[in-house]
């Protein structure tokens, strides 16, 4: 069985980066079970369809607007997932992702199980800004939800004895969460 854990969003637009930061943090803290792939999907849209189509089970982290308090998590499962963009849309990459799911469906290769861990953003307009405090605080709880779902699927991850150092995991070259948000000389 193959499982894809996918984070989507744009790290350059503050809370838009939730999904990507979540998989980055997940990878630093946990080693995945065999057959589980962690993927920073960025804003790849339709380019992700083959990865989705190849997965038996799909777990997605993304920023979603359900009109909740900022930072609140919402887990959506199964048939309800494609409908999430039917709610209020935040950005076109979500439209893109819904298209990815339905394109996979049309190809006849829809994942057997889908779960979405959504987080209500506070600020999507702050170009170059950090994750806001409530959204940053929800990353670890979001990972907790992901662990439960993966355990249910029989592929629980294992906590690393030591977290991977910042910048050595999924995101490097100064765009890892820690480096990206650090204060820099000559700015501000």
């Amino acid at each position: 069985m193959s499982v894809l854990v996918l984070g989507i969003g744009n790290i350059l637009w503050a809370d838009e980066g939730f999904g990507v930061r979540a998989v980055e943090a997940f990878d630093r803290l946990y080693a995945m079970a065999e057959g589980v792939d962690l993927l920073d999907g960025g804003t790849q849209g339709l380019y992700l369809v083959n990865r989705v189509a190849e997965a038996d089970r799909l777990l997605v982290f993304d920023a979603i607007d359900y009109g909740l308090a900022p930072g609140r998590l919402k887990v959506v499962r199964g048939d309800e997932v494609p409908k999430f963009t039917g709610a209020k849309k935040m950005s076109l990459h979500q439209t893109g992702f819904q298209e990815v799911l339905s394109a996979a469906d049309l190809m006849g290769r829809y994942p057997r199980d889908i779960a979405l861990i959504g987080c209500q953003p506070l600020d999507l307009e702050d170009w170059g800004g950090p994750l806001t405090v409530p959204v940053a605080a929800s990353i670890e709880p979001a990972i907790g939800r992901a662990i439960d779902i993966l355990a249910e699927w029989g592929v629980a991850p294992v906590r690393r004895a030591m977290p991977l150092p910042p910048g050595s995991g999924l995101l490097a070259n100064d765009i890892d969460w820690t480096a990206y948000e650090r204060p820099r000389a000559g700015t501000g």
């Binding site: 209020k88 394109a103 006849g108 820099r184």
Partner: protein
């Protein structure tokens, strides 16, 4: 009121105003407003991007060697091409020469992106402007098979294949989940294909989706991962270890052979599916030759795909370089991206502030200071604009100009320049396509011409992939395994201050990054993206950009269903994440149309 722009277009904003928002199917927001006359012909066009950007805000104070990783995040579609432009800009600033193998591998990465992007753009974004998906449900699978076999040797063409596909499509549509096909103007009078051609195109839509999984492997092999492949200032990150077996990240013989086989598939798919489809679809739209934009007057290409490492001269660049102005195909102007008088960005009609807005700024001195205000004749509010006032500031896109001229960029511009240079590899396929369709050369300057140039370029790029892959293998076999030059890797080898420019031809047109480095850190960084050139608002002289020009004089069958507008704007393959953002948080599904 009617006016004529300095670049020769007549504008009249007296008629009904139609607002289409947003226009793109992917990546970011773009909006267009047009005025139509009593016969529903477009007489004025206003194109706007609704997101401010300014990558310098994020890059200032960072290590220039990491800039590519940030620019790769600007957009989900153009990732690699931004990264390549970025490493070239840094190398140009610091005087770093890359090895020949790195040049070949970078060309392969860039050409792979061209092939992938052109295929995805055509089948998944643009074809639906010509192909009526719902009509495909009434096609006769046997007749579809006969049609497919009459235009190509592609093996997936039996009646049973099309019958199965039609069954799947029917089930999909009946489930109420149109998915990627929702929001189409199905049944619109501007659709001209018979049901069988529509069904064939839908089949190839799915095949192209499937082919993506092969083509991206090239990025995984040479870039270490995909999406978001790795890049390196000074070369490429993956070492070559010909005898290695399964070494992590290293390029070995097995992987080189895999790339080679994928290139063969790319050539086959382009020649047996994409081009025959383009020709078949085009043959039904030969009388729809609107949307020429600036292609018959002013076009620009920076050039790309250097034959020799570090040689960015016109002679070395395999994609043509130069500017054509005022339709004079006999003169190709040379480009100097470092000359402060050539590329300049203006903001008289953009929501930014300059100290003196009558003048443009060269990107090295570029600033991005937002200044969002609606003009006196705009209607609505800042968060809900009903109609823009194009006499004032009306877009978050700047207006780049070359020596003051508005120019069009993209595959059609590259082909027009290559054609004007008399280069057989560009001229002959164009002439053949036009002859096969029974069209004159002037037909090239149209929406359909833009779409055709993209298909021809996809074929060209697939063959160039073969060329550079063979060149790479030959160099490796001759014993040269070098992929990176690290002589100037550490900042202590750099001058205190430096500036540079990097350029590529992205799938959608000329892309440049301008960098200033000070004390080992980024001091300024400006990206001028293709959609900024094509989608620019007016400049201080009143010249209009390619999007606005392309919409003029187009008749609309039904202004409430602006298929003709989408068709022409999509033909540019606009990428607005590079230049714009969501304004309405309710982000409409695809395009809403308001007639005012």
């Amino acid at each position: 009121m009617g006016i004529e722009t300095p670049n020769g277009f007549k504008l009249d904003n007296a008629g009904r105003r139609i607002v289409v928002d947003p226009v793109t199917r992917i990546e970011g927001h773009m909006r267009v407003e047009v005025n139509v006359d009593a016969d529903n012909v477009i007489r004025n066009a206003v194109s706007t991007g609704t997101m401010w950007r300014g990558i310098e805000v994020i890059l200032r104070g960072r290590d220039p060697r990491d800039a590519w990783a940030f620019t790769e995040r600007i957009c989900g579609v153009c990732t690699g091409t931004h990264a390549l432009t970025s490493v070239r800009a840094v190398e140009n600033a610091l005087g770093i020469a890359i090895p020949e193998n790195a040049n070949s591998i970078r060309n392969i990465m860039q050409l792979t992106l061209q092939v992938h992007d052109h295929l995805v753009h055509f089948y998944h974004l643009h074809a639906l402007d010509w192909v009526d998906v719902v009509s495909a449900l009434s096609a006769d699978p046997k007749a579809t098979s006969a049609l497919a076999q009459s235009i190509s040797d592609w093996p997936l063409s039996s009646p049973g294949y099309f019958r199965d596909l039609q069954g799947r499509l029917k089930k999909f549509v009946e489930s109420g989940q149109l998915g990627p096909f929702k929001n189409g103007y199905w049944g619109h009078a501007a659709y001209k294909l018979p049901p069988e051609a529509n069904l064939m195109a839908v089949a190839h839509y799915l095949e192209a989706l499937d082919f993506q999984k092969e083509i991206v492997k090239i990025h995984t092999i040479y870039g270490g991962k995909n999406p978001h492949p790795n890049w390196l200032v000074g070369g490429v990150p993956s070492p070559i270890n010909v005898d290695g077996t399964g070494a992590v990240g290293a390029i070995n013989m097995e992987r080189l052979n895999l790339v080679s086989s994928i290139i063969d598939q790319a050539i086959a798919f382009t020649e047996q599916v994409y081009l025959p489809d383009l020709k078949a679809i085009g043959s039904f739209y030969k009388d729809w030759l609107h949307g020429g934009g600036l292609s018959s007057t002013s076009v620009m290409s920076y050039g790309d795909i250097p034959e020799h490492a570090n040689d960015y001269s016109d002679a070395s660049l395999k994609l043509p370089r130069g500017v054509i102005l005022n339709g004079n195909l006999n003169e190709i102007h040379p480009i100097d991206l470092t000359n402060p008088e050539e590329v300049q960005e203006f903001v008289t009609h953009s929501w930014y502030k300059y100290p003196d807005e009558t003048k443009g700024l060269h990107p090295w001195d570029g600033v991005t200071e937002p200044h969002f205000e609606l003009g006196p004749n705009a209607r609505g509010t800042k968060t809900n604009i009903e109609a823009l006032d194009e006499a004032t500031k009306y877009s978050f896109i700047k207006s780049p100009r070359w020596k003051g001229h508005a120019v069009e960029v993209g595959p059609l511009s590259r082909y027009v320049i290559g054609y004007a240079q008399g280069k057989a590899e560009f001229k002959e396929p164009v002439d053949k396509l036009l002859t096969d369709l029974g069209l004159p050369l002037t037909a090239l300057f149209s929406t359909l011409g833009r779409t055709a140039a993209r298909a021809l370029e996809c074929q060209w790029a697939a063959h160039q992939l073969r060329y550079f892959q063979d060149k790479l293998v030959a160099t490796i076999k001759a014993g040269d395994l070098s992929t990176a030059n690290t002589d100037k890797w550490t900042p202590d080898t750099w001058p205190k201050e430096a500036k540079g420019v990097g350029f590529t031809e992205a799938p959608r047109g000329a892309l440049g990054h301008w960098i200033k480095i000070k004390d080992g850190k980024i001091d300024n960084y400006q990206a001028v993206v293709p959609t900024t050139w094509n989608g620019s608002p007016r400049d201080p002289e009143g010249n209009i950009g390619a999007f606005e020009a392309a919409l003029l004089d187009t008749p609309m069958a039904d202004p409430e269903k602006p298929l003709e507008i989408l068709r022409t704007l999509h033909s540019f393959d606009p990428c607005l994440a590079c230049s714009t953002h969501v304004m309405s948080e309710d982000g409409q599904d695809m395009a809403t149309v308001t007639v005012r």
